[in-house]
């Protein structure tokens, strides 16, 4: 029943003290939240810690959640703030797709390397997707953190400009500017794909 309920209904159940509802909220948002944070910090272990911190903040504050706002916006807002706070503390702006610069051992490099592509793809599709995906992941990693949040929320998570403005607490015009600049930078970086 919880699987087919809306976010608001699941939140209501969580506020009634149903642990299953808390777990359902984690199940629904763990992948998008983890992906957003992972692409911000480029370190799997760190991303897990920050995603965990995000969910603990969200679920412990579920009583203060205002139902007039979208639950997903609230979760992404807390996730983005958690990641940005961390980046500001560590000054970890541009990172490599080949692994975290903080990885000290080959195992740590392996653990922090982005795994691209889906297991359902044919070998050729997989090579093409890996190539394009890898190029884009590299290009995203070179963006400023603010641009990175905006472009991922818009084109990876499919959020509307207005919702991104609400999530990031930025004026709508600023969000549009950041997304346009991010796309401009990505176009410039991926210029060589034009002829393909």
């Amino acid at each position: 029943m919880l699987r087919t309920a809306t976010d608001q209904e699941v939140v209501t159940e969580a506020r009634r003290g149903r642990e299953a509802a808390y777990r359902e909220l984690v199940r629904r948002y763990e992948a998008p939240v983890f992906s957003l944070i992972f692409r911000m910090v480029r370190d799997r272990e760190l991303a897990e810690d920050l995603a965990q911190e995000t969910f603990i903040k969200v679920l412990n504050a579920i009583g203060s959640y205002k139902p007039e706002f979208k639950f997903s916006s609230w979760v992404f807002k807390i996730a983005n703030n958690t990641a940005i706070d961390h980046l500001r503390r560590r000054e970890l702006d541009t990172l490599s797709i080949e692994g975290s610069p903080h990885a000290a051992t080959p195992e740590a490099v392996e653990a922090t390397t982005l795994q691209l592509g889906s297991p359902d793809e044919s070998p050729l599709d997989r090579v093409v997707a890996l190539e394009l995906g890898g190029e884009i992941e590299r290009a995203i990693a070179g963006l400023r953190p603010e641009y990175r949040s905006c472009i991922m929320l818009r084109h990876v998570e499919g959020r509307a400009y207005e919702e991104i403005s609400e999530i990031l607490g930025l004026p709508l015009g600023t969000v549009k500017t950041y997304i346009h600049r991010a796309r401009h930078e990505l176009r410039t970086t991926l210029q060589h794909l034009r002829e393909e």
Binding site: T12, G17, G63, G133, R183, L193
Partner: protein
């Protein structure tokens, strides 16, 4: 080199092309202009690449680790919250009913205890009257003891001198108002910093 984006399609035009909501004139321009067509094509390719990026999942025990840090709301608190949730849509009506009930009860109580109310009222009025009279006397005595009281009384004894003094005060007040208005008026000309 001229930026083709500013000369041809704008960022908003590119957005509209991506959303398939572009004005026919924009579509015609994109068809006719090779530079804009290439730009729009690259933009669409970048966005398709972003939309095709995989979602990453945290490790299997992620939900359990989150739940270990979450305090699931206990039943009494949840019951109180449930009651508040149910009452929330009728809050305005409940406040109105409460106010009407309180006023009605006070009227009924007043009608039943008229003698007591009268006694309380007259006693309070006597007390307040005494305090006010004492306050007035004390204020008058304090004013009469001030060094400027004598000259002021002499001025007010003559209607001509009083008129002159009042006119001088009114003129000084008017002059101060005019000066303040000039000080607070916005400059009429263009501001050199308005365009950055």
């Amino acid at each position: 080199m001229m930026d083709p984006l500013s000369a041809h399609l704008t960022n908003d035009d590119l957005d509209a092309l991506l959303d398939r909501s572009a004005d026919p004139a924009v579509v015609r321009h994109a068809d006719a202009c090779a530079e804009c067509r290439a730009l729009a094509g690259l933009d669409a390719r970048v966005v398709r690449g972003l939309e095709g990026l995989p979602r990453f999942a945290p490790s299997a025990a992620f939900a359990d680790r989150v739940m270990a840090g979450v305090a699931v709301r206990q039943a009494p608190a949840a019951a109180g919250l449930r009651l508040l949730d149910r009452l929330a849509p009728r809050r305005a009506a409940l406040v109105a009913v409460g106010l009407v009930a309180a006023v009605s009860l006070s009227v009924v109580w007043g009608a039943l205890n008229r003698d007591l109310l009268t006694a309380m009222g007259s006693g309070t009025l006597d007390l307040l009257g005494g305090w006010l009279w004492n306050l007035l006397r004390a204020t008058g005595a304090a004013l009469a003891a001030q060094p400027w009281y004598g000259p002021l009384r002499e001025v007010s004894a003559s209607p001509a001198r009083l008129g002159v003094a009042l006119t001088a005060v009114a003129m000084a007040y008017g002059a101060i108002l005019l000066a303040l208005r000039r000080l607070m008026a916005l400059p009429a000309g263009p501001r050199p910093y308005a365009n950055g």
